[in-house]
């Protein structure tokens, strides 16, 4: 986003503010391009302008700060992202329309996304499985990356440093010569982590612990190199090949209280991807695309001290001799998830203003989890066909209807529909209604799990190949009013998820005899479709733009009602969903002014709040409110080089939740932090006549051209 801004400054004639007042085009709701105001499916956009002004350090920072519906509570297992009450497992995250890969316990690794290379983010709340398949239950977040279509050579460097050793490094190298273009992206994210309190939660007669070394957020480092090549052999046909490699480590300090803060391993992640594909633009709107990709996400324990593990596979294999020792600096693979996908999609304009989207997908998942799956390895495939039509039923009423047929190796077939309607009673008003279904295919782990653990007796955990997909029904009604610089939207929704999968205790005789003989378990637990959840609420967004000022206000009301399985006590319980807060909000005011050709100042004040976050155990997270000030300074250009500085203070009023470790926090912020960032961008291009640019991509990236 920074680079984009400085690029605009290079071109001089492109005023940043006017540029953003160009109509926003969105794709996520229908898979086809629409002006935001006319999108048949309600879509929330974090525009490139908002991203530039906010200067966020991570995707968690951006979504948490610029929307009211998301909540995060970063810990070692991931970001603990929630969208309107449902967790990451039920949120589909796309990068340029393709699903992100790799999770640990359902938590996607959001560091795979370079925050400096995001053009905009589109959010479609509610179920979208008819179009996107599995996981699109709470909503879809589509991260649209920058496309770097400038002619010639582009080199950019962004270095952002902040409190607590925070470093965000971004380098881009783009080459655009004729039919050929290349873009190389490097990103590095690092934080030393921080500790909001040294107190551990102890109760009753437990001795107090006041010198805990546990951090609120652990030190972590990740880096990624990604390369994308495109080639346009003929007009309107673009071929591409992509590859990326990624590494991450979460470092955990060890203290002196074995019960509380002694740890013997760090977490390490390796991620890689490769894809090829092409897009044939048959007309301004019609296209056919084919994408084939392979992704891998591997998760390791990186041992920092000698660690004995209870591991049947590596040990002598009897319940009495279940030990295997790992030594410092050795790694143990926990899971290696590999996914191969092929997707063919076509969009066709038909007579009577019908837009037909249709496609087929094939997905093959392969899991290598030596200690957690029978035989260490398992696989699963899914094939799907889908069709969606957008048409004007009568004047001013648009209907979008879609249907997906999924065929899965384990659960068989599943039909998933979606119907959306938009009514335009006048130029300023839009009313939208949606009924859609969502589903989530059982994870391979849930199908083939086989894990044995010693805890005063042998505990046996089993997968279940009879699992059904988790499924949902989503209803929403929304109204939008837009007049001049003012835009107001209000959406009411009801999301009902059933057949949610949980580990439940089963009688031993239901487990396969061979396991009972081999392990002699004291308890056996198996994945079953047993839980359900209802979430309902109202989201309101108000945006107003006046001259050089912009204001925004978001509010989200949420309530939940769920039946969850309590593993500690083997009962179903009626509960509020963990992490749920009734009220969340965000607001901002920004102002920007170009003082001269060589200097433009932008100032933004941002706020966010959440009421109490509710949890079943270990206390509720306190409500909080934080404010942020950010400034941007475009320093003009020297020859082909442009400069931009960003600086700001997050959490101005130094709010910090010092609740003892072991209890839930409302927010993990360390208190007031500062940051400063420098972007240098070099662009030397020459116009070449034989470069073909698709209309689609032009339109899609219109705020860059």
């Amino acid at each position: 986003m920074l680079a984009l801004c400085t690029f605009a400054a290079v071109n001089g004639q492109n005023d940043i503010w006017r540029q953003d007042s160009l109509p926003e085009v969105v794709v996520t709701g229908t898979g086809t391009q629409h002006l935001l105001k006319d999108a048949p499916v309600q879509t929330e956009v974090i525009t490139s302008k908002m991203l530039r002004n906010y200067a966020g350090k991570s995707i968690e920072d951006i979504l948490g700060g610029l929307t009211a519906s998301f909540a995060f509570n970063q810990d070692d297992m991931g970001s603990q992202m929630q969208l309107n009450g449902l967790g990451n497992s039920y949120i589909l995250i796309l990068i340029d329309g393709k699903r992100i890969h790799g999770d640990v316990g359902g938590q996607n690794d959001l560091s795979l996304i370079d925050p400096q290379n995001i053009d905009k983010i589109e959010i479609v709340k509610g179920a979208s499985s008819a179009l996107y398949g599995s996981d699109a239950i709470a909503g879809v977040v589509n991260i649209i990356t920058k496309k770097h279509r400038e002619e010639g050579l582009l080199i950019e460097n962004t270095t952002r440093v902040g409190s607590y050793g925070d470093v965000r490094q971004h380098n881009g190298l783009a080459l655009n010569y004729g039919k050929f273009s290349s873009y190389t992206n490097f990103q590095l994210q690092h934080s030393d982590g921080w500790q909001n309190t040294t107190v551990e939660h102890t109760e009753g007669s437990e001795p107090p612990i006041t010198d805990s070394r546990n951090k609120t957020v652990n030190r972590h480092t990740n880096w990624q190199i990604a390369e994308r090549l495109t080639y346009q052999p003929i007009k309107n046909l673009e071929l591409y090949a992509e590859g990326s490699t990624y590494w991450k480590r979460i470092y955990r300090v060890s203290g002196r209280h074995p019960h509380y803060d002694v740890k013997t391993w760090d977490m390490e992640y390796h991620n890689g991807s490769t894809s090829v594909g092409g897009k044939w633009n048959r007309s301004k709107t019609d296209y056919i695309s084919l994408d084939v990709d392979w992704h891998r996400h591997a998760y390791y324990y990186y041992y920092t001290a000698t660690t004995l593990v209870e591991d049947y596979e590596k040990s002598a294999g009897t319940p009495y001799y279940p030990y295997f020792p790992y030594l410092p600096d050795q790694k143990e693979l926990q899971s290696d998830q590999q996914r191969t996908m092929a997707a063919l999609k076509g969009v066709f304009t038909l007579p009577y203003e019908n837009i037909l989207s249709t496609g087929m997908e094939f997905r093959y998942d392969w899991l290598h989890a030596p200690t957690r799956v029978k035989g260490g390895k398992a696989s699963d495939w899914t094939a799907a066909v889908y069709v969606q039509d957008e048409f004007n039923l009568i004047h001013n009423v648009n209907i979008t209807a879609g249907l997906r047929l999924n065929q899965n190796e384990q659960f068989g077939t599943k039909l998933t529909p979606k119907v959306s309607a938009m009514w335009k009673p006048g130029n300023a008003w839009r009313l939208r209604a949606t009924w859609s279904q969502g589903f989530k295919t059982p994870a391979i782990r849930e199908l083939f799990y086989r894990y044995v653990r010693q805890m005063s007796g042998t505990y046996l955990y089993l997968g279940n190949t009879d699992l059904k997909p988790q499924s949902s029904n989503y209803f929403s009604l929304s109204g939008e009013y837009g007049w001049r610089g003012l835009n107001i939207t209000a959406t009411g929704y009801y999301n009902k998820v059933k057949d949610m999968i949980a580990l439940v205790t089963i009688p031993n005789y239901q487990a396969p005899d061979e396991y009972i003989i081999q392990y002699d378990p004291v308890k056996t637990r198996q994945y079953q479709n047993i839980e359900d959840a209802k979430t309902y609420g109202v989201d309101v967004n108000v945006n107003y733009q006046w001259r050089e000022f912009a204001f925004g206000l978001g509010y989200s009301y949420l309530d939940t009602d769920a039946h969850q399985y309590d593993t500690n006590h083997d009962v179903m319980r009626k509960v509020t969903i963990d992490g749920m807060a009734h009220h969340k909000g965000n607001w901002f005011a920004t102002w920007g002014h170009r003082f001269s050709n060589d200097y433009r100042l932008g100032v933004g004040l941002y706020g966010r709040m959440s009421s109490t976050r509710y949890y079943q155990d270990d206390g509720n997270g306190k409500g909080y409110q934080t404010w942020r000030l950010s400034t941007t300074h475009d320093l003009g250009h020297f020859k082909a080089t442009t400069w931009r500085i960003e600086a700001g203070v997050d959490n101005i009023f130094n709010y910090c939740d010092r609740t003892p470790h072991g209890l839930h926090l409302g927010t993990t912020t360390p208190g007031r932090t500062g940051y400063v960032s420098l972007t240098i961008r070099f662009n030397q291009g020459k116009k070449l006549s034989n470069k073909y640019k698709s209309n689609i991509s032009k339109q899609q990236n219109n705020d860059e051209d």
């Binding site: 390369e227 090829v276 279940p322 007796g457």
Partner: protein, 363 residues
């Protein structure tokens, strides 16, 4: 042409990028880890070996500092009482072993798992090995101890010399409440000596661990009932319940109290476990009372009230039960009870060597 070949080369790089990230991810088991680890254990034994005879104390383990202190004190007491023997302590829980051995600015405590200690003992050729179970009842955990010795005696891994195995003297010290009469009566008598004042002042409720029904090896759970009966010979205010034993949860203790007409007064709680660890601090003396809805408790299918500590349970039922009535001591912290375990060690030393070749259960 140049651009085309460059293009092809770069496409190839792109496609292999993802794969190359995995080249260092071989997941072959690390073959010599056992050897290296065993060497470290053997080194520990070698550096401390003073005698030809050794006692290995075996506990489940803990991550609590109070428990470590109790274990350390027990090792010291053993060293004093058995001067001709080297004494080591072993955990069978891997997590407890790992946490005790790691940590910042702490001297590591090496509570290796029993098989590693036993192999090290063979390596340095101790002529007499006494394994003393620190379990309370001869239940599930105790069977693990027996099996460690059996695997060792049978040379299950084939890495000990047969000659050594044929001459080494193997002994096994039994758990605290091994014998249904002599041990139970002695422990009851010693506990009464310690707590008779408290029993005159209110209920003294001991909280044992117990085995779940499906795991009630050798029906050892009955020892808790037998101990309660023996204690009640001294005072009707003694009760013995458990965390895991069917029909002997805190709810059952309460039923028995009501049947005895005890509806009010003080309730002292005391862990009936070798150490005061997780169960003592949380299940017994924790602040958890989530099950209490302001008027009543809702028991689960097995009759236990979950999510509620003993302290809060009896407190809500109208008894005087609070932090001041929690007796936070593990049995190893009571020298007279610890002596019963030591008596078992003496008995083992003086008894015949055990025949592990023919019976898994040397009872």
């Amino acid at each position: 042409m140049k651009i085309k070949s460059l293009l092809i080369a770069m496409m190839a790089i792109c496609l292999t990028m993802g794969f190359t990230s995995c080249s260092d991810d071989k997941d072959d088991p690390i073959e010599n880890n056992y050897t290296i680890y065993q060497k470290a254990v053997t080194q520990t034994v070698k550096s401390q070996k003073k005698s030809d005879k050794v006692i290995l104390l075996v506990a489940f383990g803990s991550t609590w500092e109070q428990a470590y202190n109790a274990f350390d004190a027990t090792v010291e007491a053993y060293k004093k009482a058995f001067p001709g023997y080297d004494v080591f302590l072993s955990f069978s829980s891997a997590i407890c072993i790992n946490r005790a051995a790691a940590g910042e600015n702490v001297d590591p405590r090496n509570f290796y798992a029993p098989p590693f200690w036993l192999n090290a003992f063979a390596e340095v050729e101790y002529m007499e090995i006494v394994v003393q179970s620190l379990q309370v009842i001869p239940g599930e955990e105790y069977t693990r101890v027996i099996n460690y010795i059996k695997d060792f005696a049978n040379n299950a891994n084939g890495d000990i010399s047969d000659k050594y195995l044929s001459i080494v003297d193997l002994k096994l010290g039994v758990p605290l409440l091994q014998d249904a009469e002599s041990d139970v009566n002695l422990v009851a008598s010693e506990l009464n000596k310690l707590y008779k004042d408290k029993a005159n002042d209110g209920v003294v409720a001991f909280m044992g661990h117990g085995n779940p029904d499906s795991y009630d090896t050798y029906k050892a759970n009955v020892r808790y009932t037998q101990l309660e009966e023996a204690l009640q010979q001294y005072n009707k205010n003694y009760f013995v319940g458990t965390v895991d034993m069917m029909d002997n949860f805190k709810t059952d203790v309460y039923e028995r109290m009501l049947a005895a007409g005890i509806t009010s007064g003080k309730v002292y709680c005391h862990p009936l476990m070798s150490i005061d660890g997780d169960h003592g601090h949380n299940d017994m003396a924790g602040d958890d009372d989530d099950n209490w809805d302001g008027e009543k408790f809702t028991p689960n299918d097995e009759g236990e009230v979950e999510d509620t500590s003993w302290k809060m349970y009896f407190h809500h039922l109208g008894y005087e039960c609070n932090n001041s009535t929690m007796i936070e001591k593990g049995l190893l912290e009571l020298p007279t009870i610890r002596q019963v375990w030591m008596n078992h060690t003496t008995d083992a030393i003086n008894g015949d060597p055990l025949d592990f070749y023919h019976s898994k259960n040397p009872e």
